[in-house]
């Protein structure tokens, strides 16, 4: 793609909406992942560095569900045709990501929280967990061989249909055998809106609204806000903080699983490092919107997606990430605690 000049981007209304709406699609996925960072940060004040792996396991779960229910034939389906399996995949990915997130909480965080350890060490534990999780995924060919299930599970380990002897396959790109072909629905100012794009944005926004309501209105949400505000006082009032922390990880993981499903619908393939950059971006989005603030995560994600899209239009695709980070610095200079400020605990009931 040849870079546009600023004039071409903003002067031509069609290309402007094109890049804006295209950016929103990725922004929605960023926002969903950002939720995991922002909730954990809001409750525990620590950066859940391994959340990117939580997302990555979700993307694999989506492909696995498709292989389980459909087989390994390479086919192209419309979204409508794929929808039943996609719904099962959504549940599978949410379960997988939530499971990984809970495991993470139990193994990497809880021992440190119980010891009242410094916050920084939790970051290191998370980095270690992140390493271990992504390596475990990259070694799933060898690990399945160790337990003697390599032949039974070969489609889930290497590229579907490729013989298992070819080692190192687990590190390669792993694709969903079903390619979901987007269908053009209608135009918004020249932007060809497809059913896939529409589904991604709408379902992401719906999920975030639902989560926002859960945190604002339910008993569990009140518990989360209480722990975020003052853990000791919350404990004195009878809030089980371990349960709240677990719930936070669970919800963050489920949202990451949903994001993984949407990502796989759009992109169709994954890899063991697929989560890393996306995770960094999502964390950036969370910080941009005001970390600990659910609405900030949505806003930050969407802004980041759009800004990246504009940036890559003007400066070329290679500078996409630079645009994201420069924007972050600029926003933090003007609003040192993000656009909407830090507020998980302060959200009104």
């Amino acid at each position: 793609m040849t870079p546009l000049t600023l004039h071409e981007l903003f002067g031509n209304f069609d290309s402007f909406t094109n890049f804006t709406l295209g950016g929103l699609v990725f922004g929605a996925i960023y926002a969903l992942i950002a939720l995991g960072y922002t909730m954990v940060y809001g409750v525990l004040q620590l950066i859940n560095f391994a959340h990117s792996e939580v997302f990555m396991y979700g993307t694999f779960a989506v492909a696995w569900v498709f292989i389980l229910l459909h087989g390994t034939d390479q086919v192209s389906w419309s979204l409508g045709h794929a929808l039943p399996i996609l719904l099962v995949a959504l549940i599978g990915a949410m379960a997988m990501s939530a499971g990984v997130a809970l495991l993470l909480e139990r193994v990497a965080y809880r021992p440190l929280i119980n010891k009242n350890a410094p916050k920084l060490i939790a970051l290191i534990s998370a980095i270690g967990a992140s390493f271990a999780l992504s390596e475990a995924m990259g070694l799933r060919d060898k690990l399945t061989q160790k337990i003697g299930l390599a032949d039974n599970l070969k489609d889930y380990v290497s590229k579907p249909g490729v013989a298992i002897q070819n080692m190192g396959q687990a590190r390669d790109i792993y694709s969903n055998p079903v390619t979901i072909v987007p269908k053009h629905l209608f135009n918004i100012f020249g932007y060809r809106v497809t059913d896939v794009d529409l589904m991604i944005v709408v379902s992401a926004v719906l999920m975030m609204v639902a989560l926002d309501q859960v945190v604002r209105r339910t008993r569990f949400g009140r518990g989360i806000r209480a722990v975020a505000q003052d853990p000791e006082a919350a404990a004195l009032m009878g809030v089980n903080s371990t349960r709240v922390v677990q719930g936070t990880f669970l919800i963050g993981g489920m949202m990451a699983g949903a994001a993984a499903t949407l990502y796989m619908t759009k992109i169709g393939s994954t890899q063991l490092n697929a989560g890393f950059l996306l995770g960094v971006k999502a964390f950036t989005a969370a910080v941009m919107g005001g970390i600990g603030n659910l609405r900030g995560a949505l806003l930050g994600g969407l802004i980041l997606g759009v800004a990246e899209s504009w940036g890559s239009a003007v400066f070329g695709d290679t500078w996409r990430d630079v645009v994201a980070f420069v924007l972050l610095v600029l926003i933090l200079l003007v609003r040192p605690s993000g656009i909407l400020g830090e507020a998980l605990g302060k959200a009104r009931a």
Partner: protein, 384 residues
Amino acid sequence: MIAERFSALPKPAKVLLVLVLVLFIYALPLLRPPLITTDQIDFGGVMFTVAIFALIALGLNIVIGYAGLLDLGYVGFYATGAYSIGVLTSQHGSWPFFLTLPVAVAVTMVAGVILGAPTLRVRGDYLAIVTLGFGEIIRITAKNVDWLGAAAGIKDIPHPNNIGPAPELPFDKGGFFAIPRVEWNGLIPSLDHEHATHVLIFGATDAIPYYWVILTALILVIFGDRLIKASRIGRAWEATREDEDAAELMGVPTFKYKLMAFALGAAIGGLAGAFYASGQGGYINPDSFPLLYSMLFVAAVIVGGSGNRWGAIVGGVLVAYLPERFRDFADYRFLVFGLALMILAIWRPEGLLPPRRTKRAKAAAAEIEALEEGEIEPEEVQHA
């Protein structure tokens, strides 16, 4: 225990002991002790990497450990130093190495100030993500700017200048004299004259001279670190780290000192990068500086014991050395490394060698706890 017994020794004995230890560390890649030596990869090369990581950890310890600023983009400074060398000695000039070195350090220090000036007003974890972005910006810039060699990187970066007679190949390998290395057959040592290290020739086959140079730099930086930690600046850092508002009220210009820590840390990172660039391979490219390195550097400092220079060095050594030593695990080594990092974090949350301050603070906290619980009387504390 060991530390107490050491400090009880008379001063000449202490100096002698330290000298012996330093000599041993210099000679380590020649002695090649069994168990420590890596079999599948050149041990000299591993020791070079280990020393680089130790230097980096020492620099990052100033930023994280002393000033309490979480920097997740330290690899950016490492890359800046390396690229300064690459550009000046190979890509766009042919300066000699030891002349370029101070320039590279200065450039990195300026980079630290440029990044720090706007961002250090941001607090805590926000700084982490901003610096992380910086590290990535440096890498992407190097990858996309042709002037910096783009994705192909910079080749043929000259080695440091030889000291001693130049080699006249193929027979005379140059240098003042040659030191054979020790070969171990089980526990029986023998001398291996085939693989001798020539003093002091920076060639393509022997990594040991590079290791010596960087080790020397490391020792010099340790001395500098000791001086600055014990100075007014070091105390200002400590005050800022513990309570920024209180420090500001007491008249410490916290922003100035934070910026100083950032720039100084950056300069040490740049120094390490410069040595890396002019190392054995003489080749750098953008992928030599992945974002992941920043995480490893932070892990090194924290695992070792943030705020204690020896802890940071130990952390740096472990992070660089363990994956190389456990090449036997081949594919599993990063899995093992990740698990080891987690276990270390949970087992020793203060790091392997926590700074003395942390130990004192912990003891004090335990005492207060005991007082509150009424387990001991206040008089007992005063006697103790």
